[in-house]
């Protein structure tokens, strides 16, 4: 059996009528390198991309304007007031962090589970993670009002009062979780890039470009022992990143859940937040990947298999999130606590009722069309669904943050919250920044890991020692 395993591999791919390959047939090692590296090294930038970059840059400037105004005048320019002390800023923070989860999930969990379809999309998703975390970090940092003090308050640095940060507070856990997540994601992404940076170095024609890639690749030369250590560490990083990614959104959920506010204090929050994060993350990957696939003609590496699988993950995690909504509603009634009950009643029928029902539509109802195979394979409808989900997940965080706060225990402190123009500008600005960075990424680095794609080709298989 062993002697034929290489041939068995060559036969196995097209046999099953319903299995779409992860790499379209007809590629060899050279064409893989060529196709992927040419996007960066040889081809001209598509005009649509240049236009998108320009628009993203303009939108990004809204961020600058919003932050300047905020720092000049203070947090009063936002619509926050008692009782709603967390508004669009924390809503959007959680939204971005959630989006940032797909990258590590695709890279790490799917790697551990031996899912080969992860390979074409992991680097793209990881880059997305990094930029999403960068966008997310802006919000809590500026929410402090004086971000230049943030490091001094938040990190355990000895100060003149001899006081230390309060480690029983979830906000401190958040600082550690987000910074660990950002650093480890960057590390994981960079380690994954090293061999491909070597390839880029060897293929670049321009001396300066060659030198830059050469420095970034640290002189990688693909020696067998290096590969062995590299693979060990890459798998271990995946093993560490998997519980990390779960812990990050868990800790974000603790920001809410360890308080005693009805609508925040509920034990289902950790898994429900994690599922929501994966849901929105996969939606965002598809939102960006589908146009990129079309623009750079990546149909050979991002096949229908990838797209359908991502749609399925969206469906499953969407159902988990929907399960969470239903549990909140059921236990709001079952617990027999009038504040808990009023919280859920107020969400459904109070002044923000339309946000709640839109959220149910976007996250609960609309994704159900993904049960249909035809829909999962139709990139246009699928793209539309991902946009709906992105919006729905933003609404979800808005509902959690705002409706839980705006009607406090006593009616005398009830109030309403509406974001001001400066908050909307800040939000829009981070979207601009995110897209701007993504476009720079696809132009500067190989967006699909070349060496990993090569290991998927049938000709990469080697017979075991007898």
């Amino acid at each position: 059996m062993e002697a034929n395993s290489a041939t068995a591999h060559q036969h196995q791919e097209p046999v099953l009528k319903d299995v779409i390959p992860v790499v379209n047939p007809g590629h060899n090692f050279e064409t893989v390198s060529d196709k992927i590296s040419s996007i960066v090294l040889r081809e001209r930038t598509p005009i649509t991309l240049i236009m998108a970059l320009g628009i993203a840059f303009l939108v990004m400037n809204l961020l600058m304007a919003a932050l300047t105004k905020l720092l000049y005048q203070g947090v009063g320019v936002w619509g926050l007031n008692t009782p709603v002390g967390w508004g669009l800023d924390i809503t959007t923070f959680v939204w971005w962090i959630g989006i940032g989860h797909a990258g590590t999930l695709i890279s790490a969990i799917l790697l551990l589970m031996g899912q080969k379809w992860r390979t074409s999309i992991n680097r793209f998703a990881e880059a997305m993670t990094l930029f999403a975390v960068a966008c997310a970090a802006i919000f809590p940092l500026f929410h402090t009002g004086r971000p230049w003090f943030a490091a001094y308050w938040l990190l355990p640095i000895p100060n003149t009062m001899a006081l230390w940060p309060q480690f029983r507070s979830p906000l401190m856990w958040d600082v550690f979780a987000i910074s660990t997540y950002g650093s480890v994601s960057l590390l994981f992404w960079y380690v994954g890039l090293i061999p491909d940076l070597g390839t880029m170095r060897d293929r670049a024609k321009n001396q300066i470009v060659k030198m830059i890639y050469g420095m970034l690749s640290m002189g990688w030369r693909g020696e067998a022992r290096h590969w062995a250590r590299y693979e060990t560490i890459y798998n271990l990083l995946a093993g560490l990143a998997t519980p990390l990614v779960v812990s990050v959104h868990t800790i974000v959920s603790f920001d809410f859940a360890v308080s005693v506010i009805p609508g925040w204090h509920t034990t289902i929050f950790p898994p429900y937040f994690v599922a929501g994060a994966i849901f929105s993350g996969f939606a965002m990957v598809l939102t960006l990947l589908l146009p990129a696939r079309y623009l750079f003609n990546l149909h050979d590496f991002v096949t229908m298999r990838h797209i359908e699988n991502m749609a399925k993950v969206m469906l499953v995690t969407g159902l988990m999130v929907f399960y969470g909504y239903n549990m909140e509603a059921f236990f709001g009634w079952y617990c027999g606590n009038e504040y808990e009950f009023y919280m859920i009643y107020n969400r459904m029928t109070g002044p923000y009722w339309w946000v709640y029902w839109l959220l149910i539509f976007c996250n609960g109802v609309a994704p159900q069309v993904l049960w249909i195979k035809k829909v999962r394979q139709n990139v246009y409808i699928l793209w539309g669904i991902t946009i709906i989900v992105n919006i729905g997940m933003w609404f979800e965080r808005f509902i959690i943050v705002v409706t839980s706060l705006h009607r406090d225990f006593m009616p005398s402190v009830w109030g309403m919250y509406a974001p001001t123009i400066w908050e909307w500008m800040l939000y829009a600005g981070t979207i601009g920044m995110f897209i701007f960075l993504m476009i720079l990424f696809v132009r500067a680095l190989p967006m699909i890991p070349m060496f990993e794609i090569k290991t998927l080709l049938p000709q990469s298989k080697v017979r075991h020692k007898e």
Partner: protein, 178 residues
């Protein structure tokens, strides 16, 4: 002795993974020890052929343990020893609340020590390496496979080793400038 000094070694080129694995096995069996095999993607059998088993995972384990102890120690010392203060009636050593940061630091230090350890053991970053003097070596990161026997190997002999490499089915055997 003279010829050992002017060259780094001999490099043989192959065009498929099976060939390089077979060649590496044969080279190792023939008694060569200063052997390096280069491939554009990881081939598990290749490092096995060199009888190499990475130990780098223990660095991650140590880093993780140190990170965890550091994380818990930091919280314990600041909250219960250095500035013990009653907050919300919680015990000074609130172990339940200390778990998240302990976990985060375990992962942070474990991951970084592993990645940095891997680079150090691999001798990276390395600005200069003789194998890049072989012009064809630029294909080692795309679709070609190379086997290099270093001149410092006791069995190395400029002519005999070249013959040996050719006998393994190498497409081309080149001398590597130091």
């Amino acid at each position: 002795m003279k010829d050992k000094k002017d060259i780094y070694g001999l490099m043989a080129e192959f065009d498929n993974p099976q060939a390089i694995v077979d060649a590496t096995r044969a080279t190792y069996k023939a008694g060569y020890r200063k052997v390096d095999a280069y491939s554009p993607f990881p081939i598990e059998e290749l490092s096995e052929a060199l009888e190499f088993h990475p130990k780098v995972q223990y660095i991650v384990l140590c880093g993780g343990i140190i990170g965890g102890l550091l994380g818990y120690g930091l919280q314990y010392w600041t909250s219960a020893v250095d500035y013990a203060i009653n907050i919300g009636g919680r015990p000074l050593n609130s172990w339940v609340s200390f778990i998240p940061i302990t976990f985060e630091l375990t992962v942070l230090i474990g991951a970084f020590s592993g990645a940095i350890g891997m680079l150090i053991l691999n001798g990276l970053p390395q600005p200069y390496h003789p194998v890049f003097n072989v012009p064809r070596f630029s294909t080692a990161s795309s679709d070609r496979f190379f086997l290099c026997i270093e001149a410092i190997d006791p069995k190395f002999d400029r002519r005999a080793t070249a013959e040996f490499l050719k006998s393994l089915g190498a497409l081309e055997v080149t001398e590597v400038e130091p």
